[in-house]
């Protein structure tokens, strides 16, 4: 009897969560309909015009889609040379050693730092460096945001890919050593190829995080609405344009922001699905 009630309760909660999800998607879709109807779906995502002037209001998402993809992929590229060595260190070279545990916990600590703190640090400490280097007079922009984003995703990428590296069966590594390989040879020919798809999936998940990251990027990207022309240009990502403009938006502009939100949701969902799929195949 109690078992039945408990089961019903669980089912009820699950249904509730699904309903909330469905409700969210529904409101995103219905909120964005007027923007899509006004400009057409493909024109909306293909246009880089963002003009809120009441007489000639036009909105297009291209600048922000480009801003998002640029910052995220740059961040991913910057993060690989740091996260891969960390992953190899904790997952292979020093697997199970105190030093590896120590490093992993420091990395986990990094993962727990709130986005706003990264933003602050980027704003007050890192931005002046960019200015001093003469890359950009204000220090804001795509490059600045990408580097901070890279630091933010290093923990995810390294702990996840370290996990996959440590899952490479010992018997394969022993077989490789027994053929006379050095540590480097074994990593190169056996460990990395065998962990390859898992590592790839880890980076896709990290990319997913970078795509949606809002606070730090909003503080550092410079908040301009044109298509970025170079890496030191300012811009906006899909997340940061919403964060910057939702407060004073209504009508068509609000609908356009919601549409951008829906697109972002779609992109991250697809990215995460791909990563999950690869990981499933890996196991």
């Amino acid at each position: 009897m109690r078992d039945k009630i408990f089961k019903k309760l669980l089912v009820g909660c699950c249904i509730l969560v699904l309903l909330v999800c469905a409700g969210m998607i529904y409101s995103l879709v219905s909120g964005s309909l007027s923007a899509f109807n006004q400009y057409g779906f493909f024109h909306f995502i293909g246009s880089s015009e963002w003009d809120p002037h009441p007489d000639r209001e036009t909105y297009g998402a291209l600048s922000f889609i480009v801003g998002t993809l640029l910052t995220s992929f740059l961040a991913l590229i910057f993060c690989i040379p740091f996260s891969l060595p960390v992953a190899l260190f904790t997952g292979s070279y020093f697997r199970g050693k105190k030093i590896a545990t120590f490093i992993s916990s420091i990395i986990d600590l990094l993962a727990g730092i709130p986005s706003i703190v990264y933003g602050l640090w980027g704003f007050y400490t890192f931005r002046p460096i960019i200015i001093d280097l003469g890359l950009n007079s204000q220090g804001f922009g795509i490059l600045t945001s990408s580097i901070i984003l890279a630091i933010m995703i290093i923990p995810y990428a390294s702990s996840l890919s370290g996990e996959f590296i440590s899952m490479v069966p010992n018997e394969l590594k022993e077989a490789a050593y027994s053929l006379g390989g050095t540590r480097l040879d074994v990593i190169r020919t056996v460990t990395l190829p065998n962990a390859g798809s898992g590592i790839f999936a880890s980076y896709i998940l990290a990319l997913g995080r970078a795509l949606g990251e809002t606070m730090a990027v909003t503080m550092l990207i410079g908040n301009t609405n044109n298509l970025p022309r170079s890496l030191v240009d300012t811009g906006n990502t899909m997340a940061s344009i919403i964060a910057n403009q939702f407060g004073e938006a209504d009508g068509l502009k609000l609908s356009s922001l919601i549409a951008i939100g829906l697109l972002l949701f779609g992109i991250t969902a697809v990215i995460n699905l791909i990563a999950k799929f690869i990981m499933k195949k890996f196991n």
Partner: protein, 260 residues
């Protein structure tokens, strides 16, 4: 302690007072001394936990992957103390085949055979590779079975074929000695039989040390047999003598199935 074992002339391997411990003060292998014959099959038998794998793995210095393992004594391969050599070189000279077939799953059959070269950073020409692959797969009786699917993954093969692939992979580096740790214990009788026949062929070219739990296997294929018990080498003799006229009570009890 000094044990009197069989004398081998011109041995390929010489173990001199070898002791190995996983933790200080507790030796898993105790003062083992033995010479191992060239171009013969030497079987190591003994109940579970007696140190067979530990001893075998020390011969190609696998123990060094685990820093807690300490080894004392000398192991001479062709007269040279392997413990003083470069471990990568030792491992090329002493090929190892493991209990469970472990072909590299990301590599094709072809690449598995030449994996040793890739791992050692030796680049071979295409025709050299093809020659090695054909020779080694022929050596292990796999050539006719896989010659049309050389570029498929090795993991699609049956267990017995995979194990023969692993033997081919070890042979490709032309080792002086082939170390095998229960290479057939994960295989069915037919696959086991094929590997046994293969080993009898291979001993013309290689010296083989095989750990086995299977006494009839030792009797069928080995020329010399060791019996280990609690880390000690209790008895070492020709297989014939060992099975017909064991000198030690413990050997006799083990061979007659009273423990193990």
């Amino acid at each position: 302690m000094e044990q009197e074992h069989i004398q081998i002339s011109n041995p390929i391997l010489q173990l001199k007072d070898v002791s190995i411990s996983y933790s200080p003060g507790k030796n898993a292998v105790k003062n083992v001394s033995a010479d191992i014959a060239r171009n013969k099959i030497t079987a190591i038998m003994g109940p579970s936990g007696c140190g067979k794998s530990t001893l075998l793995r020390a011969i190609n210095r696998m123990h060094e992957l685990y820093p807690d393992i300490k080894i004392m004594g000398e192991i001479l391969l062709d007269g040279k103390n392997i413990l003083k050599m470069n471990p990568m070189e030792v491992r090329r000279m002493a090929g190892m085949v493991f209990q469970r077939p472990n072909p590299f799953p990301t590599m094709s059959i072809f690449d598995n055979v030449v994996a040793g070269y890739k791992l050692n950073g030796i680049s071979l020409g295409k025709s050299e590779k093809e020659e090695i692959v054909e020779r080694c797969l022929t050596n292990v009786g796999l050539w006719n079975e896989v010659k049309d699917s050389l570029f498929k993954k090795g993991t699609f093969l049956s267990g017995g074929q995979q194990q023969r692939l692993c033997i081919a992979r070890a042979l490709a580096l032309k080792p002086d000695v082939l170390l095998m740790d229960e290479p057939t214990s994960a295989l069915d009788p037919i696959a086991t039989n094929r590997i046994e026949e293969l080993l009898l062929d291979l001993k013309n070219e290689f010296s083989i040390v095989i750990v086995t739990h299977n006494m009839s296997q030792a009797a069928r294929i080995s020329d010399y047999s060791m019996f280990m018990y609690l880390g000690e080498l209790v008895e070492y003799d020709t297989t014939q003598t060992m099975f017909t006229n064991p000198k030690d009570k413990r050997t006799n009890e083990y061979l007659s199935g009273q423990f193990g």
